[in-house]
C-alpha cells in the first residue's frame, strides 16, 4: 500500500513540477513587454554605444587638422601583435632644428585585439577609442588604416 501511495505521490509531484515550469514559460509568452530583442539596423539612429566601448583605435584631430602624435613609437612597442606600425619622417621645425615627426601611423584593424595598451601608454594621449563598431568591409585591405589624416600636423605645445 505504501508503495502505491509513493507511486502516486511521485506522479503528482512530478506533474506539479512540470506545471510550475509551464507557468513560467506561459507567463513570458503572454507578456510581450518583456521581449529583449533589439531590432538592430532599424534602431541604428537611437543606438548609443557606451563611452568606453573599444570600437577601433583612432587619432583625434582638432578642427585645424592637428593631432597630438609625436611619432615616438611607444604604441608600436607596446602593441602585442604588431597591429600598429609607425613610419616617421624628419622635419625641420620653424627654428631650424631637425625633428622626428609622424609620417604614417598605420593601424591594422584586422589584427587588433583591443587590449588598449597603445591608448593607455601613449605619452601624449594622441590615441583614443572610437565607438564605431560596424567594421565589416568587402576588401581586407580596407582594414589597414592610416590614422593621421593627410596634411595633418602636430598640435602646438605637444612634445
Amino acid at each position: 500500500m505504501r508503495s502505491i501511495i509513493e507511486y502516486l505521490r511521485e506522479i503528482v509531484l512530478g506533474i506539479w513540477s512540470l506545471l510550475k515550469g509551464m507557468k513560467v514559460t506561459s507567463t513570458y509568452f503572454f507578456s510581450p513587454g518583456k521581449i529583449v530583442t533589439q531590432k538592430y539596423p532599424e534602431n541604428r539612429k537611437s543606438l548609443v554605444m557606451l563611452e568606453r566601448f573599444k570600437g577601433e583605435v583612432v587619432m583625434p584631430h582638432n578642427e585645424k587638422n592637428e593631432h597630438k602624435c609625436t611619432g615616438c613609437g611607444i604604441c608600436e612597442i607596446n602593441c602585442p601583435n604588431g597591429t600598429i606600425e609607425i613610419i616617421s619622417k624628419v622635419i625641420i621645425t620653424e627654428d631650424g632644428k631637425k625633428k622626428k615627426a609622424i609620417d604614417k601611423h598605420i593601424y591594422r584593424l584586422g589584427m587588433c585585439t583591443f587590449c588598449a595598451l597603445c591608448v593607455k601608454t601613449c605619452p601624449s594621449n594622441a590615441l583614443a577609442f572610437s565607438q564605431k563598431f560596424e567594421h565589416a568591409v568587402f576588401n581586407r585591405a580596407l582594414l589597414n588604416k592610416i590614422l593621421n589624416k593627410p596634411g595633418s600636423q602636430l598640435m602646438k605645445g605637444v612634445e
Binding site: 514559460t25 513570458y28 509568452f29 530583442t37
Partner: protein
C-alpha cells in the same frame, strides 16, 4: 436552431445563402456531387471528386505546414523573450515561405554508400501517411473527406505507419547518428502507440462508436472531457503526453535530439527531402491535435452545456470550422509549450514513463470508464 434548418433544406440547396456553408459544408459539396454524378459516369465522377479533394489537401498541407512552422517560431520566440521572425512580410509571416523556397533550391546531396532507393523513399512514406490520416479528419460539419464507420481505428492504424519512414530514413542514411535516432524513434513510437490506442478506447467506450462524425455528434450535449469527467481528463492528459511522444516532439524528441545526435534520423537529408520530414513533423502535430480536439473537446461541435438551450444557440452562431481550428490550435500551443519548457528525457526514462506509468494508469482508466458508462455516471 441552425442545424434543424440545415437538415430541412438539404434538397433545396440552390437557394441557401452563402454564409450557411460555414455552418454546414455539405450544402456546398452535395450539389456538386449530385451535378457530377448526373453529368458523367459514376467512375469518372469519383475520379474527379478524388482529384479535387487531393488538390485541396495538397494546398491545405502546404498552408498548414508553413503556418505551423511560423507559429512555432513565434511561440518559442515569445516564450524566450525574443521577437522571432520579423523581417519578411509584416511580422515575418512570409519567413517560412522564403525558407521553403530556399529548401526547394538546395542541392539534394547524395550520400556515399547510402541505399539510395530507400533513402529517397523514406520522406515520401512519411508524407503519404500524413495525407492518409488527414483524409479521416472532420474539419467542420460536412467537411470530411471520408467518414468511415471505423474512422478512429483507421487513424490509429495508418498513423503508426509513419515510423516505417523514419526507420527507413535512419537505416538507409549510412550514418550512425541517423541509425541511433531511427532506432530510438522505433522503440518510442511502437510503445507510445499503445497509450494512444488505450486513451482513444476510453473515449470510444464513452461515445459508443468509432465513427468520427458520430463521436462528435455524441458531444452535442457537452464535450467528452466534461462529460466523462475524471477518466476522460486522465485519458486526455495521457493522450497529450503520448501524442507528443509519437510526433517526436517536445521533451520526447529522442529521435532527433539535436544536442546528442545532431539531427537524428534526418541528419543526412538536405533540400526538399529534409523539408518533407520537417513539414511532416508539423502536420503530424496538427493531426494529433485535431484528433485530440475531436475526441475530447468536441471537434467542430460548439461549446454546449446539457440543456441550456439559449446558451447553446448563442454558441452555435460561431461557425464550426472556427471552433475546430480554435481547439486544435489550443492543443498545438500546449504541445509547443511542452517542447519549449521541458528538458529532454533519456530513452530509457521515456520507456519507463510509458510502461511503468502511462500504461498501468491507462488500463485502469479504461476499466473505470467502462464502469462509469455501464452505471451511467457520466453527464
Amino acid at each position: 436552431m441552425l442545424p434543424e434548418i440545415v437538415a430541412q433544406n438539404t434538397s433545396a440547396s440552390q437557394s441557401v445563402p452563402w454564409w450557411k456553408f460555414f455552418y454546414d459544408f455539405s450544402l456546398l459539396t452535395q450539389p456538386v456531387d449530385v451535378w457530377l454524378k448526373g453529368s458523367v459516369s459514376p467512375f469518372w465522377s469519383t475520379v474527379i471528386e478524388m482529384a479535387i479533394v487531393g488538390v485541396l489537401f495538397l494546398l491545405f498541407y502546404a498552408v498548414v505546414g508553413l503556418f505551423l512552422v511560423y507559429a512555432e517560431r513565434k511561440v518559442c520566440a515569445f516564450i524566450q523573450n525574443r521577437l522571432g521572425p520579423n523581417r519578411i512580410g509584416p511580422f515575418g509571416i512570409f519567413q517560412t515561405v522564403a525558407d521553403l523556397i530556399k529548401l526547394l533550391f538546395k542541392e539534394l546531396i547524395p550520400i556515399k554508400n547510402a541505399d539510395s532507393f530507400l533513402f529517397n523513399l523514406a520522406p515520401f512514406i512519411v508524407i503519404i501517411v500524413n495525407f492518409m490520416v488527414l483524409a479521416a479528419i472532420p474539419f467542420s460539419k460536412g467537411l470530411h473527406a471520408i467518414d468511415f464507420n471505423i474512422g478512429i481505428f483507421y487513424v490509429i492504424a495508418v498513423s503508426s505507419m509513419s515510423v516505417v519512414g523514419v526507420l527507413l530514413a535512419g537505416w538507409s542514411s549510412n550514418s550512425k547518428y541517423s541509425l541511433i535516432g531511427a532506432m530510438r524513434s522505433g522503440a518510442q513510437i511502437v510503445s507510445y502507440e499503445l497509450s494512444i490506442g488505450l486513451a482513444i478506447i476510453t473515449i470510444v467506450i464513452l461515445a459508443g462508436s468509432m465513427q468520427l462524425s458520430e463521436i462528435i455528434e455524441a458531444q452535442r450535449t457537452g464535450w467528452f472531457i466534461f462529460k466523462g469527467h475524471i477518466p476522460a481528463l486522465i485519458a486526455f492528459v495521457i493522450y497529450i503526453i503520448s501524442s507528443t511522444a509519437e510526433t517526436n516532439r517536445g521533451p520526447f524528441d529522442m529521435a532527433e535530439a539535436e544536442s546528442e545526435l545532431t539531427a537524428g534520423y534526418h541528419t543526412e537529408y538536405s533540400g526538399i527531402r529534409f523539408a518533407f520530414f520537417y513539414l511532416a513533423e508539423y502536420i503530424n502535430m496538427f493531426i494529433v491535435a485535431s484528433i485530440a480536439a475531436t475526441l475530447f473537446l468536441g471537434g467542430w461541435m460548439p461549446f454546449h452545456v446539457g440543456s441550456w438551450d439559449g446558451f447553446n444557440r448563442i454558441m452555435d452562431f460561431i461557425p464550426p470550422f472556427i471552433w475546430y481550428i480554435g481547439k486544435t490550435f489550443f492543443i498545438i500551443w500546449i504541445i509547443m509549450l511542452f517542447k519549449w519548457t521541458f528538458p529532454r528525457l533519456r530513452i530509457d526514462q521515456l520507456l519507463t514513463l510509458e510502461w511503468k506509468y502511462l500504461l498501468p494508469i491507462n488500463l485502469l482508466n479504461v476499466l473505470i470508464m467502462a464502469f462509469i458508462v455501464l452505471m451511467g455516471w457520466h453527464f
